[in-house]
C-alpha cells in the first residue's frame, strides 16, 4: 500500500492505519514531535544565545538546502540526517513539521526585529548577532563555518584551493552534530523537558541559564547538545513567553544580549578551531617540516634548530703567500683594510685576511677579521666561502656581544643562495639585537625556525615595517633598517619597494658601493636593466674591483639580450680574479656558460669550465673583448 493512502486515508480506519495516528500526533502534539525528531523548535530562539540550538530540523533543512545548493556533500549529509529521525515513517511527518517551523520562523523573524529595536544602545555588533541568531538560526552553524571560511579567504588568502575540501570535511562535522542532537534528544528529552519546565518562570532566568551552559562550550557538537537540553519549550510555551515579552516593560536585558554576543563570539572562535580544514591548511602551510631532513644520496642542506644552515668549516687557501713567514707583515689585517680602502684587488685582500685569521690576528672581539673576510669573499663573488666566513664571524660577534655585526651581510648571503628562511631568522636576530625594546612576540620567534619561508617572510616584514614606522614618526631614517626592509622586499620579488628602500638608505650613505649594487639588483630583477646598469656603474666607480657588480652587469646585459656583452663582462670578471689569486668563482663560470648557450654557442660553453686552465685566452681568440 502506498503512503498516500496511509496519509490520506479516512480517519475511521485509524486502527488499521498507523500512519494516520502518527499524523494526528504530529498535528496535535507538535511540540513533543518536534523535540523527538527535530530537536528544539525555532520557537525557542529568543532564548538562544550564540548557539542556535534552534530548530534543529530547521537547521537540518537549512544545512541540507545549503549543501544541495553548494552541491557539496548534500546527498551525503541529508541521508545521515534523516535516519536520525528514527523512523522513515516520520519522514512525511517531518515534512509537515518543517512547514510549521517555517511559520514559526516567520514569527521569530519579526521578533528578531523587535530584539534589534530594543537593542538600540547595545554594541553595534549585537543587533546583528541577535538578529542573525533569530532570523537565521538554523543557518547559523552551517553558514558560520562557511562565513568564517569566507573570512579566512580574504584574511589569510591561503585557501584558494581549500574550498571544496573544506566542505567535505565540514560535512562529517555537521553530520556529527546531527547525530549528536539525535542522541541527546532521545536520551535526555524527558529530563531536559522537566528541567525546562522548571526553569521557565521568567525569560531572564532562562536566558541566563542558557548562557551558563554555553560558557563552557568548547566544541560546537557539545554546545548544540547542551543547548538542546535547555531548550525544550513547547509551542504553547512559546506563545506564552512571546506574550510575556511583548507585554513586559523590560527589554531583554542588555547584559544578556551582551552575554549572548560574547558567547556567540566564543562559540564562533571555538568553531574556528573546530572547523579545522582552514587550520589544517594553515598548519601545512606553516609546518616547515617539509623534507629538510630527508637525505637520499648527497646530504641536503641541513638546518639547525634555529633555522640556520649548518655549513662546513671555512676552507683556507692553502697557497696563501701571506702565510709565508718571510713575507709576513706586522698586521695582515690592517694591510687588508688598507688594500680595501684603496680599491685593491679583492682576492688579495681575502688572502691577507685569511692569513690574519690563521695567525690569530682577528681584530675587534675576535670577529672583525672573519666578518671582513666574509664580506670580501661575497664581493668577490665567492658566495659559499663568504657565507661560511660570515657565519663564523657572526657567531663570534654574538659571543662577544657585538651589536649585530655582520648579521645583515650574512642575511643577504643567505638570500642570495635562496635560503630565504635562514635570511629571515638572521634578520630577526639583528632586529632584536639592535632594537631590544621593540616588542617581538614569542610566537614569532618560535615560528621563525619551523614555519615555511612564506610565513616567516610576512612576520619579519611586519616587524621591520613596525620599526621603520616608529623611526619615521621620530624623524629618523635608519639606513640599516631600510636595508633590511629592502632585502625582505627583494626576496619577495617586490623589487619596486626594494628599490625605494635602498634609495632611502643611499640617501644616508651615498658612498656605499654595496648599496649601489643592491639598488642595481633591485632594478635589474624588477625588469629595469638600463637603470640597473646606471646603479652598477656607480658602484664600480667607487670600487672598480667589485667583482659582484661586474657579474651583475653581465646579468643585466643578459636580460637586455646583449649576450655577447654579457659574456664579455663575465670574462673580464674572471680575468680579474685569475690575475690576483687564481681562484675563480664557480658562479661566474656557470653564468658565462648560460650566456654562451643562449648565444647558441654550445661549443664555447663546453670550454667555459673552471677546470680548463688557460681558457680565458681561448675566449679572447674567439673574439671576446675583455
Amino acid at each position: 500500500m502506498s503512503f498516500q493512502s496511509l496519509i490520506s486515508g479516512s480517519e475511521c480506519t485509524v486502527p488499521a492505519n498507523p500512519l494516520s495516528q502518527v499524523l494526528k500526533h504530529t498535528e496535535s502534539d507538535r511540540s513533543i514531535q518536534q523535540d523527538r525528531f527535530a530537536g528544539p523548535s525555532s520557537s525557542r530562539l529568543h532564548h538562544l544565545p550564540g548557539t542556535s540550538s534552534s530548530a534543529a530540523t530547521g537547521q537540518d533543512i537549512a544545512l541540507a538546502r545549503q549543501f544541495f545548493e553548494a552541491s557539496h556533500g548534500g546527498p551525503a549529509f541529508v541521508p545521515s540526517a534523516i535516519p536520525e529521525l528514527s523512523n522513515s515513517q516520520m519522514k512525511d511527518a517531518w515534512i509537515v513539521e518543517q512547514q510549521q517551523h517555517m511559520r514559526v520562523l516567520e514569527s521569530t523573524k519579526s521578533q528578531s526585529q523587535w530584539a534589534a529595536e530594543f537593542d538600540g544602545n547595545a554594541q553595534t555588533s549585537l543587533p546583528q548577532q541577535p538578529q542573525s541568531m533569530h532570523s537565521d538560526p538554523q543557518q547559523m552553524p552551517s553558514y558560520m563555518p562557511v562565513g568564517m571560511y569566507g573570512d579566512y579567504m580574504p584574511r589569510n588568502n591561503l585557501f584558494a584551493m581549500g574550498g571544496p575540501p573544506l566542505m567535505q570535511t565540514h560535512t562529517p562535522l555537521i553530520a556529527d552534530l546531527g547525530k549528536g542532537k539525535g542522541k541527546s534528544r532521545e536520551a535526555d528529552f524527558e529530563a531536559a523537558f522537566a528541567q525546562i519546565a522548571a526553569s521557565f518562570p521568567s525569560q531572564e532566568t532562562t536566558a541566563s541559564r542558557i548562557v551558563e551552559v554555553d560558557d563552557g562550550v568548547t566544541d560546537i557538537g557539545d554546545g548544540l547538545k547542551s543547548t538542546t537540553l535547555q531548550d525544550h519549550t513547547t509551542e504553547p510555551d512559546f506563545r506564552r513567553v512571546w506574550d510575556h515579552l511583548q507585554n513586559s516593560d523590560a527589554p531583554p536585558p542588555a547584559e544578556d544580549l551582551e552575554k549572548w554576543a560574547t558567547d556567540f563570539q566564543q562559540l564562533m572562535d571555538a568553531q574556528r578551531q573546530e572547523l579545522n580544514y582552514g587550520n589544517a591548511m594553515q598548519e601545512a602551510w606553516e609546518s616547515g617540516v617539509g623534507d629538510f631532513t630527508d637525505s637520499l644520496g648527497d646530504p641536503p642542506m641541513r638546518f639547525d634548530n634555529d633555522g640556520l644552515p649548518i655549513l662546513q668549516e671555512y676552507i683556507f687557501e692553502t697557497n696563501n703567500k701571506y702565510l709565508d713567514p718571510s713575507n709576513s707583515t706586522s698586521s695582515p689585517l690592517s694591510d687588508a683594510k688598507a688594500l680595501l680602502e684603496q680599491n685593491g684587488a679583492l682576492s688579495e685582500a681575502s688572502l691577507l685576511l685569511e692569513a690574519a685569521i690563521q695567525k690569530g690576528d682577528l681584530g675587534d672581539g675576535g670577529y672583525e677579521a672573519w666578518i671582513l673576510l666574509g664580506e670580501t669573499k661575497n664581493m668577490d663573488e665567492h658566495e659559499e666561502a663568504g657565507m661560511r666566513a660570515l657565519s663564523e664571524g657572526v657567531k663570534r660577534a654574538e659571543a662577544a656581544g657585538a651589536l649585530g655585526a655582520g648579521m645583515m651581510s650574512l642575511a643577504i648571503s643567505y638570500t642570495n643562495e635562496s635560503m630565504d628562511r635562514a635570511c629571515h631568522v638572521m634578520l630577526l636576530r639583528w632586529l632584536r639585537v639592535r632594537f631590544p625594546d621593540f616588542p617581538v612576540s614569542e610566537e614569532t620567534v618560535k615560528s621563525m625556525s619551523t614555519h615555511s619561508s612564506w610565513d616567516t617572510h610576512t612576520k619579519i616584514t611586519d616587524l621591520f615595517l613596525g620599526v621603520a614606522r616608529q623611526q619615521h614618526s621620530e624623524g629618523i631614517v635608519d639606513s640599516d633598517v631600510q636595508i633590511g626592509l629592502g632585502v625582505l622586499y627583494y626576496t619577495h620579488g617586490e623589487y619596486v619597494l626594494a628599490k625605494d628602500c635602498f634609495e632611502s638608505a643611499l640617501s644616508q650613505r651615498p658612498g656605499d658601493y654595496l648599496l649601489w649594487n643592491r639598488l642595481g639588483s633591485s632594478l635589474s630583477n624588477g625588469n629595469k636593466p638600463e637603470e640597473a646598469l646606471g646603479a652598477y656603474r656607480e658602484a664600480l666607480q667607487i670600487r672598480p674591483t667589485y667583482t659582484r657588480a661586474i657579474y651583475n652587469v653581465g646579468v643585466a646585459c643578459l636580460n637586455i639580450g646583449a649576450h655577447k656583452e654579457a659574456a664579455e663582462h663575465f670574462l673580464s670578471a674572471l680575468a680579474l680574479q685569475e690575475q690576483t689569486s687564481g681562484e675563480t668563482s664557480e658562479q661566474l663560470w656557470f653564468t658565462l656558460r648560460r650566456a654562451l648557450i643562449t648565444m647558441d654557442r654550445a661549443d664555447l660553453a663546453d670550454h667555459a669550465k673552471r677546470e680548463l686552465k688557460g681558457n680565458l685566452d681561448y675566449f679572447r681568440r674567439e673574439g671576446f673583448d675583455f
Partner: protein, 135 residues
Amino acid sequence: MADDLKVAGFKSSELISSLGAVFESFSPTEKTSQIKKTNGVFEIVVKKPQGPSPAVQEAIWTIDLKKAGKVTKGKAPTGTKADVTITMDDETFVDLASGKLNGQKAFMSGKLKTKGNIMLATKLDGVLKGAKAKL
C-alpha cells in the same frame, strides 16, 4: 639543447627546455650544490586552454633536483617519485620564470595549485630564476 623537452604550443616549453639545457651544463659540483639546496622532485603540470574549444591541453615536466639533477618530459620516471606536483597555466609559468610573479603571490591568488610537499613549492622560484642579479 634539450629539444626533447619541447611541447608545441606552450610558451613554457621554451623556458623549460632552456632550464633543461642549463641543468645539463652544470658541472658536477654545481649540480650537487643545486641538489643540496633544493632537494626535491617537482612535477610541473602546465595547462593551456586550447583556442575556442574549452578543452585544456596539458603538458607535464619533471624537474628532478634530488637525485639526477635534470629535467625530463612527462611524469617522474620510474624510480623517482614527485615530491610536489604544481599545476598552473602557461601564462602563470612564464610570469613565474620571468620574475613578474612570485610563487607566493601566485599561490595565494590561486594561479598555482600544489599537491604534496607545499614547502618545496616555495623553492620553485629559486629553481626557475634564471639569471638573477645578486644582492
